[in-house]
């Protein structure tokens, strides 16, 4: 069976289940007697086991199976949850995550998990005697369930159970018939057809094993199992079928008997197994809705390429809309103008909807942090109450994918440097348990993510001392720095205030990576701190990467777009004082000077100097760009105004051309280049501020 086409779905779902398990394990310690929770955990593990087996990932299946045994024992109150147990279970989840990653990258699920498995087995108290057998049967069951004649009882799908219940409600009798054909039976399908006919004369067939299609294709050995709802007695059925030739044996049992024979625990397990194996696509929804129905939005997985394609088509439409608007206003045709106005409204709504398609809730990244905080607090011997807010805030998928690492660094930083040890907190008169809040919310076009702790705050003296020691700033500079500037030193590269280098943070990498990452997403990060009250990191992100707000600037005949996230302020050239230091034109800015870069020189804009040189000292505009603490003033002939522009990549052929972060299409249909401000600032040697 070729499973490759299902691999994508399998991976997606495996991740979902893993996340579900992660989330719920977090709460397991506190709510170890919550049977609803335990059932949900068990179901997720169970489905994961089933689907990994189905896909042929046996290592993964076996590990999940071992974990499932623990959950099962918990569920049946044979053991109780402990912190150590949860740790081992988390370890198992980590292995599973690594397997999924490896599978996604084209590898296999091979991984040495024996240690974790032993620990897991130790948790259930015994070496799980049934293990190998169960694994085998569940493996065989998943792969060859269709042909498996050994199955003694029908394992019923939900809909089949529903049929059965319906039949029983109608006072029909439900029988399970195990029919064995002669070994030398030639026309097996024909015999099966006759059996089915015979049964249908008496009532209706609720289910068959194997499925009808398989029977038609003769994909079975000798054994067939039928579930039939009839009015007559079982004995009559038996006789009817035995009358058909080439039948070796018929075994009829009433379904109520079967139900009794099944030990309650076993039957439940077996039933969930078969149902969830089949329905793993909806298992998460169904798992929660099993007891209390929850309204679940219907979703559809769509390839991102298709959405991009739709977006491209839409952009074409937008450009033509612009042309149409011009034509309408030029011709003063009222009907045309009305229609254009309508098109405009509809397309605006379309734009919003299209952008929404790329949006995903930020909880996808947030979800992984409770575990991080849990293990960090254990490692650091700190008590932390982790609060997550606004997980439903939506962001562009691309941004979400990139956000995980920077957030992790900031959370680690807050855990390590921010929140104090319980003893110290108590000495300060604070709650020994610290609070770390991760929150997301909308602010206009932006999404704000805050990481807030109620810890010690930034020790500015220590930061400054360290910064001087590490040559990040000079002593002179240090004297004139504002509190905010000092706080921002945390993001300087090669900077760390940790007294000892720990595993958690303080390797001098981390926060500087955070800033460049956030900036590459067209966002900004700030830090605010109050001694002994805490520190707050604030990340501001655009809601989407595909549309950014940009300032269009013109020099000569050329128009460039400057992302607004890089702009600190704008001014007219005649308002600023410029002078020259060491052949570098600089301008007065606040307390210091910043280098002045002419857009025309930077991009060698042709045919401009001759006609514009006159009065160039005073005409034109200045845009102050900033990247971290570095600032550069960019001069242009004219500012054309702010505009939301659609970002398009330069493409494969030109990907090595430096200086641009992309292109966009202007209202007149021309392409305009988006300036890579980070590069512009960094290629320009920053003039050290001079007092």
């Amino acid at each position: 069976m070729d499973m490759s086409q299902y691999l994508g779905i399998f991976l997606d779902e495996a991740r979902e289940h893993l996340q579900n398990l992660n989330d719920q394990l977090m709460t397991l310690e506190e709510r170890s007697d919550d049977s609803e929770l335990l059932n949900s955990i068990f179901r997720s593990a169970h489905t994961l086991k089933g689907s990994s087996g189905q896909m042929g990932f046996n290592n993964m299946m076996e590990l999940t199976h071992t974990m499932e045994n623990v959950f099962d024992a918990l569920r049946n109150k044979k053991i109780t949850a402990s912190r150590d147990m949860v740790d081992v279970l988390f370890e198992g989840l980590d292995h599973l995550a690594a397997m999924i990653d490896s599978i996604e990258q084209g590898g296999s699920d091979a991984r040495d998990v024996s240690e974790t498995k032993e620990q897991l087995e130790a948790l259930t108290g015994k070496k799980d005697a049934s293990k190998s057998e169960t694994v085998k049967s569940s493996n065989g069951g998943t792969m060859k369930q269709q042909n498996d004649a050994q199955t003694h009882f029908l394992k019923l799908e939900d809909y089949e159970k529903a049929y059965m219940k319906q039949a029983l409600d109608q006072n029909l009798k439900v029988y399970e018939l195990q029919v064995t054909l002669n070994k030398d039976c030639v026309l097996k399908a024909a015999r099966a057809y006759m059996i089915a006919n015979a049964l249908e004369e008496e009532g209706s067939i609720l289910a068959t094993r194997p499925a009808t299609e398989a029977i038609e294709k003769e994909e079975f050995d000798q054994k067939l199992v039928y579930l039939a709802a009839v009015e007559c007695e079982g004995q009559k059925l038996k006789q009817k079928i035995e009358a058909i030739s080439e039948i070796a044996a018929v075994d009829v049992s009433s379904i109520s008997e079967i139900e009794e024979q099944r030990a309650p625990q076993q039957s439940q397990k077996e039933q969930t197994e078969s149902t969830e194996k089949k329905r793993n696509q909806t298992s998460r929804a169904s798992a929660t809705s099993a007891k209390k129905p929850v309204a679940v939005a219907k979703t559809l997985r769509v390839n991102l390429d298709r959405i991009d394609q739709l977006m491209n088509l839409f952009e074409e439409l937008m450009i033509d809309r612009g042309r149409l608007e011009r034509i309408a206003s030029d011709n003063h045709h009222s009907d045309l103008s009305d229609t254009v106005e309508k098109i405009k409204r509809v397309t605006n709504q379309m734009q919003e909807t299209l952008l929404n398609l790329r949006m995903e809730p930020i909880e996808q990244v947030f979800n992984r942090f409770p575990r991080l905080v849990r293990s960090l607090s254990k490692e650091l011997n700190k008590k932390v109450n982790f609060v997550v807010k606004g997980g439903d805030t939506e962001l562009d998928r691309t941004v979400i994918e990139e956000l995980g690492d920077p957030l992790m660094h900031m959370i680690r930083n807050s855990m390590d440097h921010g929140i104090e040890s319980p003893a110290l907190r108590e000495a300060k008169g604070k709650n020994p348990e610290g609070t770390l809040t991760l929150a997301a919310y909308y602010n206009g076009n932006q999404v704000i993510v805050e990481i807030k702790d109620d810890g010690a705050g930034i020790n500015r003296e220590k930061v400054l001392a360290k910064a001087i020691e590490k040559n990040v700033v000079t002593e002179e500079e240090a004297r004139t720095m504002t509190e905010n500037q000092i706080d921002h030193l945390l993001f300087a590269s090669g900077f760390s205030t940790a007294d000892k280098i720990s595993d958690i943070s303080g390797r001098g990498v981390g926060l500087d990576v955070v800033e460049s990452k956030i900036q590459s997403l067209n966002g900004t990060v700030e830090v605010v701190s109050t001694p002994d009250q805490g520190t707050t990191f604030t990340v501001k992100l655009p809601m989407t990467l595909s549309i950014i707000n940009a300032l269009l600037v013109q020099t000569g005949e050329e128009t460039y777009a400057v992302p607004i996230t890089s702009i600190t302020e704008t001014a007219l050239k005649r308002q600023v004082k410029t002078f020259t230091i060491h052949d570098q034109t600089v301008m007065d800015y606040r307390e210091g000077v910043i280098p002045l870069v002419s857009l025309a020189d930077y991009f060698a804009v042709p045919d401009r100097k001759t006609d514009k040189r006159e009065g160039s000292e005073n005409s034109g505009a200045v845009v102050i760009l900033s990247h971290g603490e570095k600032k550069v003033a960019l001069t242009a002939d004219q500012l054309l105004g702010y505009q939301d522009v659609v970002v398009k990549p330069l493409g494969k052929y030109l990907e090595k051309v430096p200086g641009f972060s992309g292109t966009t299409i202007l209202g007149d249909g021309r392409a305009a280049l988006i300036i890579d401000c980070q590069r512009l600032i960094e290629t320009n040697k920053t003039i050290k501020e001079k007092a």
Binding site: L313, E558, G651, Y653, L654, G659
Partner: protein
Amino acid sequence: MSQEKQLKVILFEMNGETYGVPVEQVLSIEKVDGITRLPNAAPFVKGVMNLRSIITPIIDVRERFQMGHSKITPDSRIIVVEQDEMSVGLLVDSSKEVLDIDADQLEQAPEMIGGSSAKYLSAVAKIGEDQLLLLLNLKQVLNQNDVAALRANGVEA
């Protein structure tokens, strides 16, 4: 190539020579309008152009072959070709008809012909009395690794 019976080729003119590209590699032929200059790019990259919402790089083929700049005239055309999943526009002097060529008309390109190096050509073919068709080897024309070497050559020439 010689196994193919016939080859459909789009013809265009440059420097008085007739060049051709296989029709299946041609996405469209465009008039020259609104090329945005791309600073920092190789000299033969004229810039980028918005073609139905796709930002397409435009290459001056003449400059690529180190035969000087192309002047843009009303006859100038951009032949948008596809190679290795990239679409690139070739700026040429003018575009001409589509021609069917028999495979046996094709010959290997001589070392140097019409001022362009043979490595940019996949074959030549006689068409008409004294006319030669130069069939472009797009893979080489759009080869990026070649660019650095080309620049060095350009300085010498």
